[in-house]
């Protein structure tokens, strides 16, 4: 009996070691946590395009998996742990609300590397990355200021977090350079993704006199309503022109592929270390869709603004920045608000009449 016991134990050990070595020869597993469905044609869609670019670039060397429709909050922690336990060594969590869950899981698994989008907390094995979308918003503000006949912009906002607020402010600052009296109506829909609600918000904005619609939500519903009502709109996260061929002025496109490819390459080479990346138009993390449905002089102004931002000659948050109470905001970056101030922004610039909703 003892003989059979030792024989069985030896066999098991052998099998176990075989399994172990097989894993070592395996591909690098890269996991993704998505907020919405990849069919949202917006935020998550762009992340997934980048993931597909990874598959194309690295082929057999990596294996990507994704979990979509993961709600922000406690359940996210479970989803991220699930990816860790499935063997993923590099995990991308693609929404602000995953910040704390990612940090928690990162502390538990120091050998797994995490990349968190649009957040501000990081760790030795957790990087953060974000796009300077506000640069695109500034350009959109300039275009909107020129194209709006009623002088009222409509803004469909999701949650009152700095990410969204900096977008509103950048838009207003851009618009005010061409129309100092521009007004904006802001509707908070408290969701990143709810097409009928976004459509309702767009209808409400148009009914109240806005003729250029912009959004910080993820579906093309607002573009469609703007198209139906004969107004102008900006797409968000990805090209939305097919929902409004004569409506879309431009769109801010999230271009994550170059960053993702660089990070996976670092992981494969063993050179991955935690970083804080905030790329904009210059590094092509933020790309503008072609400027359409506008007269040539507006198009030229938009192109010039974009070039100036890329060259560093134009700073969207150039000091002095005056908040809606008339106070000048302290300027910590020399001649412009520094990154920390922008990332923690919780005030409206002068010209926005709405009261800031509570955090």
């Amino acid at each position: 009996m003892r003989k059979t016991f030792f024989a069985a134990a030896a066999a098991l050990l052998l099998l176990g070691s075989l399994g172990g070595s097989a894993e070592a020869a395996d591909k690098l597993k890269v996991g993704f946590i998505y907020l919405g469905p990849i069919g949202d044609l917006g935020w998550t869609y762009q992340h997934d395009l980048a993931r597909q670019a990874l598959d194309k670039e690295f082929g057999d060397k990596i294996e990507t998996t994704y979990l979509e429709n993961v709600p922000e909050g406690p359940d996210a922690e479970r989803a991220i742990e699930q990816l860790v336990r499935a063997g993923n060594k590099l995990i991308f969590t693609t929404s602000f609300g995953y910040m704390d869950p990612t940090l928690k899981v990162a502390k538990k698994y120091p050998n797994v590397h995490f990349e968190h989008a649009t957040g501000f907390k990081k760790d030795k094995n957790m990087s953060i990355y974000n796009g300077r979308f506000y640069e695109g918003r500034y350009i959109q503000g300039v275009i909107a200021g020129k194209m709006s006949k009623t002088g009222v912009l409509g803004y469909i906002a999701s949650f009152p977090i700095p990410e969204v607020i900096m977008g509103i402010n950048a838009t207003m600052l851009g618009a005010q350079t061409v129309n100092p009296n521009i007004k904006v109506k802001i509707i908070w829909v408290n969701t990143w993704f709810d097409p009928p609600k976004e459509a309702d918000a767009a209808k409400a904005l148009v009914d109240q006199g806005a003729d250029v619609i912009m959004q910080h939500t993820d579906s093309p519903a607002a573009m469609k309503i703007a198209a139906e009502r004969g107004k102008l709109a900006f797409g968000q996260d990805s090209e939305m022109i097919k929902f409004g061929p004569t409506t879309q002025l431009t769109s801010i496109i999230d271009n994550w592929a170059p960053y993702y490819i660089a990070r996976v390459k670092a992981e494969l080479d063993g050179t991955w270390k935690e970083e804080d990346t905030w790329g904009g138009l210059k590094s092509q993390m933020v790309v503008m869709a072609p400027f359409t449905n506008m007269p040539d002089d507006v198009k030229k102004l938009a192109e010039d603004t974009k070039a100036a931002i890329i060259d560093g000659k134009l700073l969207p948050f150039k000091c002095p920045v005056v908040d809606q109470d008339g106070k000048t905001v302290e300027c910590k970056g020399g001649d412009h608000l520094d990154d920390g101030q922008v990332l923690g922004m919780h005030f409206y610039v002068k010209g926005v009449d709405d009261k800031m909703p509570a955090k």
């Binding site: 908070w188 829909v189 459509a199 309702d200 409400a204 009914d207 109240q208 806005a210 469609k224």
Partner: protein
């Protein structure tokens, strides 16, 4: 078009899917079956309705596909709860999760496609009347159908013998069975009707509201429809009032924000549920001391047990 008229029109569109889904659920619950799978049936109706309209070019066929999808899901529900006497609450929840997931799977192939939205009625002269012209005479077929549906259900439940028997099954299925009525068959028909309505309500979203399909587009409207039935204390007249009230709240909070009125939007979004809780509390304080739910709601019925 003035602001008031525009708001009323938006409210009509927002309330219609709630009204249709809640009407079906009302009949189902009146027969004694608690169907929590409305959300899953709605989203299946949405994806199949959109697919049908996309590939045939006809909104009517799309609506029919939505109805068939909702009915099919409800048949699954009926098999479990009526045929196998499984707990209704658990089955309904499971079906919701299943429906949402399955619709995402099926819908992945049609994401990104668009159709022309359902046409609106236009009677020259009547439709262009100020204020109420578009509201009364300029709607799409779904809106008129929703009104016809609830009126028909009211007539059926309170003015026909068949409706009386259905209500009997919901109030006391044992007695109904003793009187010789086929309780399971009646409940089956009620469940199928509820599923059909949920499917139609779901189809309304991609066929008339936002003319494309995106996974998860119902975004919880099925749950609001369920709350609505309770809010209406299972009475058709109150159902209509409740549906338009819920729709109005969701639209007005958007307009209030646009106008700069500072009511927190999170509070407004929670109002329908808050209202339901208040109604339930108020009802429980009446002389009868309890809810006006059909007495046998949610209880499993097995003949000869």
């Amino acid at each position: 078009m003035e602001l008031a008229e525009a708001i009323i029109l938006s409210v009509l569109s927002a309330s219609t899917p709630l009204l249709i889904a809640a009407t079906g659920e009302l009949v189902t619950e009146r027969a004694g079956v608690l169907n929590l799978g409305v959300e899953g049936m709605m989203i299946m109706g949405a994806v199949c309705g959109f697919g049908g309209a996309l590939y045939t070019g006809s909104i009517t066929i799309g609506a029919l596909c939505g109805i068939i999808a909702g009915t099919a899901m409800s048949l699954l529900f009926a098999l479990m709860t009526l045929g196998l006497a499984v707990n209704q609450v658990a089955t309904g929840l499971a079906l919701t999760i299943f429906g949402v997931g399955l619709s995402g799977l099926i819908g992945a192939s049609v994401v990104g496609e668009q159709i022309t939205a359902a046409p609106h009625l236009h009677i020259p002269g009547l439709t262009d009347l100020p204020l109420l012209g578009h509201v009364l005479f300029g709607q799409d077929a779904f809106v008129y159908l929703s009104i016809a549906l609830i009126v028909g259900v009211w007539y059926f439940l309170y003015r026909t013998r068949a409706g009386l028997i259905l209500r009997a099954c919901g109030d006391n299925h044992v007695s109904a069975h003793a009187l010789g009525y086929p309780v399971l068959r009646i409940r089956l028909l009620a469940v199928m009707f509820g599923g059909a309505c949920a499917g139609l309500a779901g189809a309304y979203l991609p066929l008339a509201y936002t003319p494309f399909f995106i996974p998860g587009m119902t975004a919880g409207r099925g749950w609001i429809a369920l709350a609505l039935v309770v809010f209406a204390s299972w009475l058709p007249a109150r159902l209509v009032a409740g549906a338009y009230l819920f729709g109005a709240v969701s639209i007005l909070q958007l307009h209030a924000q646009g106008a700069g009125i500072g009511i927190p939007s999170q509070f407004m979004s929670s109002l329908p549920y808050l209202a339901t809780v208040i109604v339930l509390v108020a009802l429980s304080r009446t002389r009868s001391g309890g809810s006006t739910a059909p007495a046998a709601l949610g209880t499993v019925f097995v003949p000869d047990r």
